[in-house]
Each structure stands twice: as structure tokens, then as C-alpha cells.
Symmetry: C2
Subunit: 342 residues, 2 copies
């Protein structure tokens, strides 16, 4: 893929620091869940209790095993970087292993890390920082097929659903790539663009770069961002939608929410409204855009009520409706392939 | 206004270099046209033939007259900065006069300029660079009234129309501020935010910062950007719209265009479509948003056909329709005040 896209070299080891709470290691656990085949093991410091269930490695053994990248699988409590993590990062960089992180602070500002990387010939990859030189969107139709996950809100399953659809397409022997638009997705996919960090003029162009021309029967499954009725982030959603020019989209929804999370004065719009607006805006670059399913996050719904709830949404929307974590995305992919049979 | 907004100190002198073609001095001529009261004069180098019709000043006489800023009124042919312009800029900075420019290259990278500015206590103000720390949009309703100019395309009169509406409101003794969202607008207004250079996550927030709470009878007249059906830039337009939460908007249109300028494969949408979509999207943060007029750029229409054309658009849209340059925006402001009489 283009040099305009962030690249993470494989295979990788996942860095878990000395974290003792799974909440802070979600990225690392996701990396292992979705890309076990590219993961040589985990690097943990004394005191760590989080375990991603892969071999424990030192920097030396990681290097010997052929590790190309050390990927941050942890968020530091409080957001800064604990000083006692630094020697391990410097050792890795000095050994020529790229350091990949998605922190607010830039890797190059950590004491001694840039020098170690230069010595070892390693790259410091901040996945929150878009590469320079992104173009303006052209709106030109590209070859290949695209699916975008959208949502009624932020943080309701867009990344997970896209990863699950991509995995299910591959499982069925079809051509598919997950296209990452956020930091965790980029670490998992090994490439991508942090779309919300792109200068606004270039958001559609970034989305175009992310899902380039491809085989006629190839799916790009694009990780959505924000929400089309979100008063803070809709511009990101809209730019990603128009630049991605998806043929199909899936709406992700948390049925327990009544308002935009963190925006208590903004009521959540219905799935039907999101479908209608997504088609209205998306048809600018793809007039045949259509919705192929609903992905519900039912983790906060009592277990006994989930099946009835999913069935209700299915009847209300007339679309395949699943909880991707509980049941997978099979019915959505069935519908997708039915709609795009040719 | 907030320190999150770029500020240009007044009074200013306009710098015209040694330019001989008005095309390259459009910004300077606009500065003088719209803010004559803040302009002490022009600084020109030997060979210049462009004349903004204000007193000729040297850096020394500008300083003596109280100039706080030297504002670039020219674009250099080719985009770079001619080396022989530099001594004048350094003299101004060393004299404590802020240098204000909207070039692609940063002022601080020009040889010796940062040092001169430090010596003189001057600021180097790149109006293409948004201040750090912009917030995410909240969508919260603000006090005061807002009008946004939108367009069927880029470069069809949104800045001019906003300046004209602001000027007409003031002429009638009403409270109004022009809110600049592009580099030329910022130089004219003396403050503003280059909205298309803002990181996409913060576009709605930037628009909110730009038109803060105000008196109930105060108008912010916000300069629009891009176009809501533009395949490259619509995300800028949408973020600005939702963050500005306008009560009223004016559609700017060049009746000679059939396609998006520079996008020959994208047909221009009708004014009616732009009105409908602007209301649909804008009602997220202002449910009573409405269109109050159409501003036509008829400069490429044969003079004999203009009146009939304007009349046709008036009948088709049912809205006041003017060419702001030829006839002013009186009828649009009439309609605006009728609609918001209270």
C-alpha cells in the first residue's frame, strides 16, 4: 500500500509493561485476538499480571525470533509513560525493532529513545500521527467493493464489527482487507490512517488513499469513526463516508443508550435515521450505497433479554441483526453476498 | 475574543512587495476595501505598480504612525518568497511590528526573521496555522444570532457575501461581527480561524470558539467554506455548519458553472438541493435554521442578461436574490431582519 499510509512491520511482539488491570491492556489483548498469526509473543516487565496468552519474550529473544516491531498493547495509567518502561523500549530500538505506539506524547520525545532508534536503525511509529502529503479527495469511482461500519454513536462496536466482517469474509475464502482508521485498528491491521487526526481539508482524500483501487471482487472493510448525528465528530464521519464511497454499510448500535455518550443534551437518533442520512450523504460518491445489517452491542443488556431484543431490531429494520461478539456476523455477511452476488 | 483565535493587531500596513499584477494583490486590495479605517498605508518595494490607493509608507514611517502589524497583501508568483522582500520584513519585525502572512511556508523559517522578531518583540503570525488547544464541539446552544454563507461550490462568493452582509447590518446600526474562517478573511477581520487547516476532530469545536455566546440581538456573520456536495471538502462545510449553529444562511452561486470547479466529473447541485441539505444537517444544532437569500456571482454573465437571470433565480427559489458586488445585499438583509424581527 501507499507510503501515505502508516505501516507496522510484521511479525511483532506486544508490549504490556507491568500492567495489572486488563482494562489498560485492551489494545494488546485485541492485537493477539485478531492477529495471533503475526504475534511472536509478549514482553512484560516484573510485576505484570496481565497475560495475553502468548509466549513471554525478552527483547533479546524477540530479536532472535525475528521481531520487526514492538507494539504498545497498553495505555499507561494517567496517560504518561512510566519511566521504568523506558530502558526496555530503548533496548528494543537499539536492537533494530521498531517501536509502535498510539500515545498522546510523541515517541521521539522520550529520553534517549530517538538516539537508540537511530543506532539500531529502528523506526519510531506514532500511530496517532498521519503521514505528510495526504491529497484532497477526488470523488472518482474506484474499482473493488467497500463496506463501512457506521454507528448511532461513538464507541458502540464499529472497529469490532469491521474486524469481524473482514474475518468472516476471509473464512469464506473471499478477498477482504480490514482498513483501519483509528490507532488500535492500525496496530491490529499493521497499517492504516488515524482519520480523526487528519487536517480537515484532507479527510476525504485520506479515506481514498486508505481503500485504493482493487480487484472487482475484493472487499475493503473500513472501520468507521464518530457518528453522522454527532455534534462534535460528524465531520469526521462524513468525510470518511464520502471518501470511502462504500457499496454497503453496517450500523452499529448500543441499545442501552438514550443519548450521545458524553453529550447528555443530545438524544440518540434511531437506526432508521442513521441509515437514511448515511445513504443521503454517501450517495454523493456511490449512488448505490445500501445498508446490509445492524450490529448490536448487547453487553449491557441482561442475558435473558438479548435474543428478543435482537429479534425486535431485526423486525423493525428488516435487516440482518446480530451481536457480533455473542453470535458473530454470519447473517450480515450472508446478506452482503446476496446483495453483491455478481 | 478567546486566545484560541488568531489575532492580528491593529492598525496595520499592507505589504505589496514589488508586485505588478493586481491578481497577486487581491488580498491587499480586499484589506483596504473592507478595513480602510484600520489601514495606515501600503509598503511597496521599488518596481511595484500595484497601488491600493492608500499612503505609501516605509517601515520607519509606518512605525512612527503607530503600525502594529505588517500584513501580507500579496501572493508571491510561484508560491515562494522572493529573497529581496526579506530585508523589509526583517526591518519591520526588528521595529516591533508583527508580520502577518498566509503563505504555505512558515514565517519562522525565513532566514533571520525569527531573530529579528525576537529582537523587536514582534510576533510572526501565520494565518494558515490554527492555534493549539482547540476543543471538541459540544453542540450546546449559544446566545446571540448567527448567519453562515454557504455555496454550491468553492470560490463563488462566500467571503465577499459575508463581509457585505456584516457591513450592511452595521450600516443599519445593528450589532454584527464578520467571523473569518479562511486566511484572507482573517487578515481582513483581524481575527479568526483557518477552519480547513484544523485537525478534523476539532472542526465543530473551532466553529464554536469562533462565534461564542453574545448579546441576544447580535449577529455573527460567518464566512463559509467548501460546499455541502463537494466530494473533496464537504467535511469542512459540514463541521463548520454544525459548529456555527446558524439561525440563517445565504447560498452563494456562480450561475455559469455546470460542475464543481476542478472536479469536471461532479455536476453542480441545484440551489434547492443545497438549501435542503444545509437545513437537514444544520438542524442538528439549530432546528430553526432557514435560508434568507441567494447571492449570485454574475461577473461572467453578459451584462445585458444579469437582471433577467437574477429575477429568474428569485422566482425559482422564492428568496431574495442579489449580486452582492453589483447591487449589494440590501434585499437579503431586509429578509433577515423580517424573519428575526424580535
Amino acid at each position: 500500500m501507499s507510503t501515505l499510509v502508516i505501516q507496522v512491520e510484521r511479525p511483532f511482539v506486544v508490549f504490556l509493561g507491568d500492567v495489572t488491570d486488563d482494562t489498560y491492556a485492551k489494545t494488546g489483548l485485541g492485537l493477539v485476538q485478531w492477529r495471533r498469526e503475526d504475534c511472536l509473543g509478549q514482553v512484560r516487565l516484573p510485576g505484570a499480571t496481565v497475560d495475553a496468552g502468548v509466549p513471554n519474550l525478552t527483547i533479546a529473544s524477540a530479536k532472535a525470533a525475528g521481531a520487526r516491531s514492538l507494539v504498545f498493547g497498553v495505555a499507561a495509567v494517567g496517560g504518561g509513560l512510566p519511566e521504568h518502561w523506558l530502558p526496555t523500549l530503548r533496548d528494543a530500538a537499539a536492537a533494530g525493532i521498531d517501536i509502535v505506539a498510539g500515545m498522546h506524547l510523541r515517541l521521539a520525545t522520550l529520553p534517549g529513545l530517538a538516539q537508540a532508534a537511530e543506532r539500531g536503525g529502528a523506526r519510531l511509529v506514532d500511530v496517532r500521527v498521519p503521514p505528510p502529503g495526504l491529497p484532497v479527495g477526488t470523488g472518482r469511482k474506484r474499482s473493488g467493493l467497500r463496506l463501512l461500519t457506521v454507528g448511532t454513536d461513538c464507541a458502540c462496536g464499529k472497529k469490532y464489527t469491521a474486524l469481524a466482517v473482514d474475518a468472516e469474509l476471509r473464512r469464506r475464502g473471499l478477498k477482504s482487507d480490514f482498513r483501519a482508521t483509528g490507532q488500535t485498528g492500525i496496530m491490529i491491521a499493521g497499517e492504516g490512517l488515524p482519520i480523526d487526526a487528519v487536517v480537515s481539508d484532507f479527510v476525504t482524500g485520506a479515506a481514498e488513499v486508505l481503500s485504493p483501487d482493487n480487484d472487482a471482487d475484493h472487499w475493503d472493510v473500513v472501520e468507521g469513526q464518530g457518528a453522522i448525528f454527532h455534534p462534535g465528530y460528524l465531520q469526521v464521519t462524513v468525510g470518511l463516508l464520502v471518501g470511502s464511497q462504500p457499496d454497503a454499510f453496517v450500523v452499529c448500535h448500543d441499545p442501552t443508550r438514550t443519548h450521545i455518550a458524553g453529550w447528555p443534551h443530545v438524544p440518540l437518533r434511531s437506526i432508521a435515521e442513521v441509515v437514511e442520512r448515511t445513504i443521503a450523504v454517501g450517495s454523493l460518491t456511490n449512488p448505490s450505497i445500501r445498508c446490509v445489517g445492524v450490529a448490536l452491542n448487547t453487553s449491557k443488556v441482561p442475558a435473558a433479554e438479548r435474543a428478543a431484543l435482537i429479534d425486535r431490531f431485526h423486525r423493525e429494520t428488516g435487516l440482518p441483526c446480530v451481536d457480533p461478539i455473542a453470535n458473530g456476523v454470519g447473517p450480515i455477511v450472508d446478506r452482503l453476498l446476496e446483495e453483491f452476488r455478481s
